[in-house]
Amino acid sequence: MTGKAWLQAQRSAVALKLRLAAAYGVVEGLLIIAQAGLIAWLVHQVIRADQSPHALIAPALALVAVVVLRPMAQTLRAAAAIQASDRVRARVRQRLLRRIEAMGPAGLAGTDSGELAAKLSDQVDALDGYFARYLPQMQVAILVPLAILLTAYALDWLAATFLLLSAPLIPLFMALVGMGAERLNRDQFLALQRLSGRFLDRVRGLTTLRLLGRTEDAAEGIIRGADEYRIRSMRVLRVAFLSSAVLEFFASVAIAVVAIYVGFGLLGYIDFGPAPKLTLFNGLFVLLLAPEFFQPLRTLAQHYHDRATALGAAEQLAELDIEPPAQTGAGPSNPPVAGQPSGLPPGHVLAVDSLTVARPGRGQVIHVPALNATSGERILIEGPSGSGKTSLLEAIAGLLPAQGGQVHRHADSTRALGWLAAPPHVARASLADNIRLGDPDADDAAVLAAAERAGVMEFAARLTAGLDTRVGERGQTLSGGQAQRLALARAFASPASLILLDEPTAALDAVTERYVLDGIDALAAEGRALIIASHDQVLRRHADQIYCIRDGVLEHCGDA
């Protein structure tokens, strides 16, 4: 789906709100007409009809009422438009999030989660202006000038004709200027893009610049580049600004033309058409309407960039917003991974039977003839990196659909499984919340106990906020060892009967390694089954059974 079509499709959900916003906009336009009419009538009555202002209390009050009602309509319109934008963004974000979840960790492998998150936050928010401002204004910009034109016709058809004639000229001139600006922009596009990216590019490479001793050169380069950017941009802007100047020009000239026409008509210098019948009332009325005729168009022009911004975002969001393909490979003989306890031999936590695992883009990765784990058992899976250890763990966890064969897991609860990823996942949350990912219902005491056992408290106790310290971006950075302890604490907190560990001893300091090895034994002693994927020989001393991967097949290599 193109960005444009996608954007169009999002409108249906809030069509009513958008129409409501436009309706309030039209009401506001009608109030503007009423206000102009009342002012003109009051002026006419006092100045031309010699009425005493005391006799005009009723119309004066009506004018006050109109002036008070206008901001109300304005507020209601804004509220409807803001709600429409809010609703669209909430819906889009929810739907895209479900799409991403459906892709699963295997489907997301290789994507930058930061970039994806930025799409869900910033790009979705970039739709705001389009729904909150541009779309409602589009209808207002057609209906209100039309209403003003009809009123003007009723008052003086010649003055209305001046307005009508200028109306189609505006888009014409704007388009001509716009085309010129676009051509200029196209010619400069590459240069402008390169120049505008220079600052960020140099900031990213600061380490290299410092190592080479070239930071001052780079600073001067940034300044030179920004100056060239300015000169080139101004070339484009000088033409682009003409298009809004055209609009301004017509709006100003229309007022001037109407004023002079009305003035000369009132003096009796014009014998043509309706001019001899002009009065101060209809003359002033038309004059007050003239700027309002152009105002909705001017506002729309101001919001035009909202549309461009939203279209840019829509291109990217539409790419994400596709139905995930039906998961293949899970044949009818393959029961859901969270298998029934009936499929498990007594005392077993895991039973894998002739399982074949394939990865999107890599084909078949590993075949497992048989792998069983009983409660309290520590199983080590050895194999060099790239041999499919992680894929096997993902398949056991149900994160990667099996191509054939069966995985039976104990399904006593939704929290039957624990996972220590490599590298460990550290959420941008507090240490305590990170541990709670293992069991969202864990109370503070349980979290503290888990933190103690995994050695998290050893460094957390030194932090002023303790376990409430935020980690990750915008918080404390953790070393690899500290992150692994956090992941271990998560496993301790989890009630899981089966825990999968991916390279748990890679890149650790000596103290953390001790915590991890002791942790493995302690978890097993609690009666949990552990599947450990690693090529670190240290782990052999902490395993009950050892399996190896040879030529893509998992084989039993011995009991430890």
Binding site: I39, V43, R194, G213, V253, L266, L267, R428, G472
Partner: protein, 572 residues
Amino acid sequence: MHELIPYLRMLRRYRGQLALGAVLMLATAASGIGLLALSGWFITATAVTGALLAAGVAASLEIYIPGGGIRAFAVTRTAARYFERITNHDSVLRLLRDLRGRVFRRLAATSAEDRADFASGELLNRLTTDVDRLDGLFLRGLAPPLVAFLAILIVAALLSIGSPLVALPAGGALLVIAGMALLTAWQQGQQSTTRLAGAQADLRAGLIDHIHGLGTLLAFGSLSAHQRRLDDLETTSRQAEAGLAMAMARREAFLHGAVQLVAVGVLLAALWLFHRGAVTGAVAVMMPLAVLALLEPVGVLPGAGLNLAHARASAVRLDDGLARVGPDGPARASGDVPDNAGDTGGAASGPVDVQIDGLTITRGAGARVVDGLSLAIAAGEHLAMIGPSGCGKSTLALALSGQIQPDQGKITLDGTPMAEMSAAQRIHQVAFLTQQTELFSGSLQDNLQIANPSATDADFWRVLEAVALDGFARSLPEGLDTWVGESGTSLSGGQARRVALARLMLRDPSLVILDEPFSGLDAGTARHIDQALTDWLANRTALLLGHAETALPQADRLVEMRAGQAQQTTPG
């Protein structure tokens, strides 16, 4: 407001151009007021005169001056607006240039450790957003209130033609209304920007966690709990946004209503004055129309207040981010800022011997990444150090190249403590190929030349041949002038690595540190480069870092890094 003072000082340089921009803004507003007020005056005057003429009374009205005035205002409004936009955008872009230069210089003075935060996209994006917001400080924050104030004075002057008794209260009311709109928007901006920015950052962090930790969440069965958390963050963020938008809409509506009520009040007062014979009909009509024309310059005030608050918040954030890292301006605190020290040419002084004694480096939440490490590398020796990623190799290399200060222990090169060396000396002596390949958007030649400004074409081709990129470079239509990096020819990871290696070989250092030099290269290419590297490394001291021995060039000695310390292993 004091946070904005340094940025206001930056404006001083452009005071002429900024003043011109402000005058043009005022001319636009004044022409708009003049156009509507004079038009109203004109048609009322003609109506009165026309009625007298029709009644057979001898009357006359000078029509050419007001007619010409109306046409002149129509043209000046358009022209002033056009040139105002040109002038002010040029000023904004000039300010952007200065701001970028200033922020970059301050960032350049930071140590690699402090800058580690900036490696993440979020902080970098925030940095550019903040810079962009500050460049509009004058145009969108300061100039509109100034112009609105002067426009109100102009309208008050026009009203006083009718009666000072109307001009004074109306002008006062308009000033109060405009001031309130500005002030309340500024106050709300102050409160909401922090809250909104916090809510949005929390949402983004929550989203990253949800996507990045999807496997962990699914496996532990915590997905729905995290979904609920994310929903809360999303709702908070959206509510904060919608709340701000709604408050601004209400404020704008209130402002419009209030100005129009003043206009109605002036209308009724003027009609009453006319009835009393105190003013002519034409003046009586001109008065309320002048007030109505104020809507344009005054209507932007809530936005200006918000922009000012945003600019202030950006200034605070920028200063917070930069204050940690070093002093402002060109003053340098230590010899730690290399500047253009790389320009110092001269021949290498031959290989150095390296002594590392009891080196301890703590990072993050107190983790000893390097823990009491002692190591000696003899002059000309090639030492390989292996260990898994995250074991502290790269941190050691950063210390050895002077990019971070160790917490304990010292490093000496040929007996000179690292801490006592000047930045120029250090850069001249030590070359470090970081694990992360950092190329710059620019031509291929730019990327090489950055290592040695005096290198010739022959040098470029020599090093490109050494990394087996000469064939590729010759095949490019634009050769060395080919643009690489963003919005250019994209190099593969391996090609980029080779450019980084070639860049290094343009230099003549005494100590070379290579961090995973062959990452991303296929075996054949790695062998070719290994040969060239060995030639280049002869007569230099080298520290070769990698996850496995096989991933490194031939070394004289091998140590393994484990638990922050170096352990001797048998030569491989």
